[in-house]
């Protein structure tokens, strides 16, 4: 199916272009401008060349935040994708049960991100939280996410998995529903076990939605801000300071516009590379799927 070649289609895209350009290009130009200057106040600035870039690239806290970020996003993918697929496989297929299961599953996705943080503060505090109290008092293991970096990481990971696995599950579920019943019948006639049905029928058919789930989860976990900000504030120490938290600290809290802008650009370039690689992967999946 060839698309109709017609450059007049630009007119249909124009509103989107204008509205996104207003929110994307003007701020981006501004960030580029800020990144080469030391700004004291409106109209008072000194041109400093690439000094901010040099300073930020050699800032060990930025590098630590970057590695922490990659570790976090990697763990998120390793845990959430298989778990989401398992949940989707176990979910009821039709009837009111399926509706109820879907609605309940989607619930965490529609909670504002800082409320997520609040829920987990209340849930994990050793004195008033259910989880905190169970671990501390029943199991006798000291657990406090405000004091121990490891506990903070566990809490943030738990929160993240709790929050976003439903998205993976929803996508995987929709992929499973799109498989025609005939495929299952064929597998049954061949006497295929549940495992080989999964491996040779369900998994290949889910490739498209799973790629999307993978991309969405990687990108969004790479940009995570509000939940750890509310839950741990980046601490204890800097142990849960991810890239966005560190950036906001420099740009909005300390109001260091120049270094903040240079940091923003570095961050943006990293994200741009990943977006490009993923976009290519997505296109390939789109072409490979002929059904």
């Amino acid at each position: 199916m060839e698309k109709w070649p017609d450059n007049k289609a630009w007119l249909l895209v124009l509103p989107v272009f204008v509205i996104v350009a207003f929110s994307a290009i003007i701020p981006l130009l501004t960030v580029i401008n800020y990144s080469v200057q030391d700004i004291f106040g409106p109209g008072q600035s000194v041109f400093v060349g690439v000094d901010w870039f040099r300073e930020m690239l050699q800032d060990y806290r930025l590098r630590e935040a970057l590695w922490r970020q990659f570790l976090f996003s990697g763990l998120v993918l390793i845990i959430e994708i298989p778990l989401g697929v398992l949940i989707a496989l176990a979910m009821p297929k039709r009837g009111w049960k399926a509706s109820a299961a879907l609605v309940t599953l989607a619930l965490p996705l529609l909670i504002p991100w800082n409320t997520i943080g609040t829920i987990w503060i209340i849930f994990t505090r050793p004195d008033i939280g259910l989880l905190g109290a169970v671990i501390n008092n029943l199991l006798g293991i000291p657990f406090d996410h405000t004091a121990s970096p490891l506990d903070a990481w566990i809490t943030v990971m738990l929160m993240e998995v709790w929050h976003w696995t439903p998205l993976v599950a929803l996508l995987a579920y929709s992929g499973l529903r799109a498989i025609p019943e005939a495929y299952y019948q064929a597998a049954r006639i061949d006497g295929a076990s549940a495992w080989s049905t999964f491996l040779y029928v369900q998994l290949p058919k889910m490739r498209g939605v799973l790629t999307i789930a993978f991309l969405l989860r990687f990108m969004d976990s790479f940009l995570i801000y509000a939940e750890p900000f509310v839950l741990t504030g980046g601490g204890p120490g800097n142990s849960t300071t991810f890239l966005s938290l560190y950036l906001v600290k420099i740009a909005l809290l300390q109001f260091d516009l120049g270094p903040g802008a240079a940091f923003s650009l570095i961050y943006f370039i990293i994200v741009l590379l990943f977006s490009f690689i993923f976009y290519q992967a997505l296109q390939r999946v789109g072409k490979g799927e002929t059904v």
């Binding site: 501004t30 401008n33 080469v36 200057q37 870039f53």
Partner: protein
């Protein structure tokens, strides 16, 4: 309502930088409208159109810039020449 651009803190170097990219994109659009090019394979691992190659050239130059600034003390004025050559190479053979 007075709309000013003063808060954007323009400087001459950034204006030249952004202007160059902006004009290149415009020029590419006009070129492709007048004579559209096909996708082809070069030394890059994926088939690309000239637009893709321009993007790849610019993005890889950004990384070159970051590596240059962050990990070396070499003279910065050599960099634009290298980047220009690199982008031309990608555009021609990529």
């Amino acid at each position: 309502m007075t709309f000013t651009l003063k808060w954007m803190e323009w400087t001459l170097p950034t204006a030249i930088f952004c202007g160059t990219i902006f004009l290149t994109v415009i020029a590419m659009t006009i070129w492709q409208t007048v004579s559209p090019s096909m996708e082809r394979r070069g030394f890059l691992p994926i088939p690309t159109t000239p637009g893709d190659r321009l993007f790849i050239g610019i993005l890889s130059s950004c990384y070159l810039f970051l590596a240059w600034v962050g990990f070396t003390q070499w003279n910065l004025w050599v960099l634009p020449a290298i980047i220009l050559c690199w982008i031309l190479v990608v555009m021609r053979w990529g």
